[in-house]
Each structure stands twice: as C-alpha cells, then as structure tokens.
C-alpha cells in the first residue's frame, strides 16, 4: 500500500527536477527548507528525524537536493520528506511538505478493533512493518 502524506499526495512520485522546482518555489517565498526521515510513517507521527539542520539563508535548491540525495543514500528504506517552514509572524508553521523517498516494500496498515463496554467497537490502525520492530529494523532497512 502506497502511503501518501502532505502536499502532492494525490500525484505520482515527483522526479528530482520537480522536487527541485518545488524547493525553488519555497526558497523564493523565503521559507526554510528541511529534510526529515522516519521509518514510522503513522499519520499521527508528526515527529520525524531531522537530516542535518534546517537550511536557512539558502538561495539555490541544488544544495538541498544534495542533502536529499545524501539522506536517500543513508536511509534508502526510510520515508524522507522535504518540508518548508515559514517564519513570518502569524504563520510560523510548515507551509509545504512532501515525500521524496519511500521504502521498497510498503506492507501498509491493518485495522485494529477493540471491543469495549456495551459491545462498542473502537478502531485504530497499525502498521504491519512498524509493529514489534525497533527503529531502524522496520521496512527491511
């Protein structure tokens, strides 16, 4: 199951050219671009690991694309996303975030049912790949 998150989640994977164009746009807006990775892609997991420091004061996307490439080499079986942070007062939030790398094999999530009082059922989802395995050993990586 192909996990989708963030901006462009409805599109096929972006090519490096397209990623570069998006980063270019973010830089033009004056946003700081970060590269983050994780092997726990649960939609509620907002805390991904940062790859290096947030890249402030950059003018050209080439440097960031290089970081993405380095991160892909170091973590080929992790999810990697590029996010752009807008520090303008009033916004102070991530304005753009999209996935640029995903593991070879994504087993997806299963639906967990929990019977609670009064035959009520609570639902949650659980990743086949993540459950029961420590960080770094999920997704065969």
């Amino acid at each position: 199951m192909r996990i989708t998150q963030g901006t462009f989640s409805f599109l096929p994977e972006l090519s490096d050219e397209q990623i570069k164009a998006q980063i270019e746009y973010a830089l033009e807006q004056g946003w700081a671009v970060n590269v983050e990775y994780t092997d726990d892609p649960h939609p509620r997991n907002t805390y991904w690991e940062m790859w290096g420091l947030p890249m402030f004061d950059l003018r050209d996307p080439v440097g960031i694309l290089e970081e993405v490439q380095d991160c892909r080499e170091a973590h080929p079986n992790h999810y990697i996303r590029v996010s752009a942070f807008d520090s303008t007062r009033g916004w102070e939030t991530v304005r753009l975030s999209f996935i640029v790398n995903r593991p070879e094999h994504e087993p997806g999530f299963r639906l967990m049912r929990q019977e609670v009082d009064g035959r009520k059922i609570r639902y949650t989802i659980e990743s086949y790949a993540v459950t029961g395995k420590p960080e770094g050993e999920r997704y065969g990586g």
Partner: protein, 338 residues
C-alpha cells in the same frame, strides 16, 4: 508499482554519472538539428538582451582606475557571451572554469569587483542567482575534529547558484600546524570547485605575496583557478577621484583649497605604514567630517548656510596628525592615525 517507483525516484542516481555532466547539456539540447555554417549570428543582440553593459558601465563609474581588471572582466563577459551564441547555433561550448583569485593590497576594490562579477555572471546566465557570499577562515574551519566539513558544506550550500568569496584565503592553510583543520576545508571546497562548476564560482582574495605562497602549498587549488587578477594600488590622483565620489554620495564637497590640502594629505598618507587605499580614504573623510561638524558647532551656529553644512574646508583636513607628524619628522608606526 515498483517499476514506476524506480523510474520516478531514480532521476539522480549516481551523482557523478558522466552523462549528466554539464558540458554535455549544450549539445544534447539540439541533438539532430543541423545548422548551416553561414547562419548569421547576432552577438550584439545577445549582448543587449543580457544587459551586461549596464553592469560594466556601473563598474566603470564606481571603480576608479583598475584598468587591467576592467579589461579582464570585459574579456570574460565576451567569452561567456560568445559561448552562449555558439550554443544557440548548435556549436558545442564547454563550460569554462570561472574560479578566480583576486590579489592586491587592502582597499583596492576586490570585494566590489566580486560583487559586480557575480552580477555579470548572473546576467550571462552562468550562475543562477548571482548573490555573493563573503566568508573568512572563521566561517569555514571548525573547532574540533569532524566540525570542519559540515561547516564548510553549510557555507557552500549557501553560496550555491552564486559566488563564494573567500577573503584572506591564505589563512585556510597553516603550514606550521599540520593538524590544522584548514586543509580539510580546502579539500571540501576543491571538490565542489571541480564537480559543481555550473553551480558555484569561487573567488579567493588576499595579499599578493601571501596568496602566492598559499598557491605554492596548494597546487590543486592553483590549477583549478583559471583567472588570476592582480589589483594594482591606486595612485594619489585616483584616490582623490575616489574621495570625490565618496563625498558626492554623502552630499558633501571639498572647497577648492580643501581639495589641494587633501591631495597633500594623500601624498603624505601613502608613505605611511598601514595605508590601505580606498579604505584609508574613507576613514580620512570620516574624520574630516567629524572635524567639520566640530568646527560648525564651535562657530556657534551663527550665519551658517546649507552650503556650510556641505563643504569641507582645508582646516578640517590640515588638523590631521599626518601633517603634524610630517612637520615634526616623527616616524610613528601606530595604526591609529588621526
């Protein structure tokens, strides 16, 4: 699904894949187009479109003297322009290496020229953004093992698409300390200079003799820099012209006697140690303005006009210690010359 993934994410697999080398791009753009040899080319049109003349004019206006430098810049601009026109008619144009070294005494305009250079290269679409990142050893070299490479890379990333100006580059190499981290920074920079010639232009600057020693010790650096520009010292006449420009910028002017006095001042000042060309002129003018303000203040503000506020009189300049020292014949080597 898998095949699709490979296709879309594998866009930049190797990094140093030879087919992605920038030199090839120009020829691959029009692979099959045959352009006859007698196709007319419009160099003038291309020149006009690039708006380079504007920057060259600005350079001429802002920088007094420096004739050899200006010629060199014009030549570089011409080369890039011809390359661009060549690409337009299907001729191969190798991406020239434009890393430069600026040598010369302080205050001879190295930073200003670097700024204009970035602008010219940007207008000729040699670099994408045209900004100038000025750094010294502090920003490149780390404090402990493993600190230098990331620090240097950070700076290089900031300079991508523009010009990296390394001031006093010879400090990067400290031969007396073989465990100095400077060489690590040099290596990192060299790698980028070689592999990402279309992303970044590196300009090294510093005193001539020290830079020469630096290049002797770093032959790799020397061979990767194609353009060595030597900035000559300004003559007293040029410095006077520079002073005129600086004053004009700040809406001041010399009275005729003051100009003569300043001329004398320059002749004396050039002989003194720690003379740094245009920078010394700027400092001298700042001090003259200080004295002028004092003079006006002491005059009690009676009968002053707008003209008085703008004019620097000879006494503002003659009060300088340079004159007093010359009169008393003392040879002081202090840096604090008033």
């Amino acid at each position: 699904m898998e095949a699709e993934r490979r296709y879309s994410f594998g866009g930049r697999s190797g990094g140093d894949d030879p087919t992605e080398a920038p030199e090839q791009d120009a020829t691959e753009e029009q692979p099959e187009r045959v352009v006859p040899d007698d196709t007319p080319v419009d160099i003038e049109g291309a020149f006009r479109d690039s708006n380079v003349q504007e920057v060259l004019d600005k350079l001429d206006r802002e920088l007094v003297g420096l004739a050899p430098i200006k010629t060199r810049i014009k030549e570089t601009a011409a080369l890039l322009l011809v390359d661009r026109v060549r690409t337009g008619v299907g001729l191969p144009a190798a991406v020239p290496s434009l890393h430069m070294s600026f040598t010369g005494n302080p205050g001879t305009g190295k930073t200003t020229v670097a700024l204009r250079m970035a602008e010219i290269l940007h207008r000729l679409e040699y670099i994408r953004k045209g900004h100038l990142v000025t750094v010294t050893r502090d920003q490149l070299v780390g404090q402990y093992i493993g600190h230098t490479a990331p620090k240097t890379k950070e700076v290089l990333k900031k300079a991508m698409g523009g010009v990296l100006f390394i001031d006093e580059a010879y400090y990067l190499h400290r031969p007396e300390n073989e465990r100095d981290y400077g060489s690590e920074a040099i290596e990192t920079i060299l790698q980028v200079m070689e592999n990402q010639r279309d992303d970044i232009v590196v300009i090294l600057a510093g005193y001539k003799d020290r830079m020469e020693r630096f290049f002797e010790n770093n032959p790799g650096m020397h061979s990767r820099i194609a353009h060595h520009l030597d900035f000559p010292d300004h003559t007293a006449g040029e410095l006077l012209q520079i002073a005129g420009l600086m004053l004009e910028e700040q809406q001041y002017r010399f009275s005729p006697e003051a100009e003569a006095a300043f001329r004398e001042y320059l002749d004396l000042r050039i002989e003194r140690p720690n003379f740094s060309n245009a920078r010394s002129v700027r400092n001298a003018l700042d001090r003259a303005r200080l004295r002028q303000a004092n003079r006006l203040f002491d005059a009690g503000g009676r009968g002053l006009t707008r003209k008085d506020l703008m004019t620097i009189e000879p006494e503002d300049i003659r009060a300088s210690r340079v004159f007093q020292d010359a009169a008393s014949g003392t040879e002081e080597t202090g840096t604090d010359i008033r």
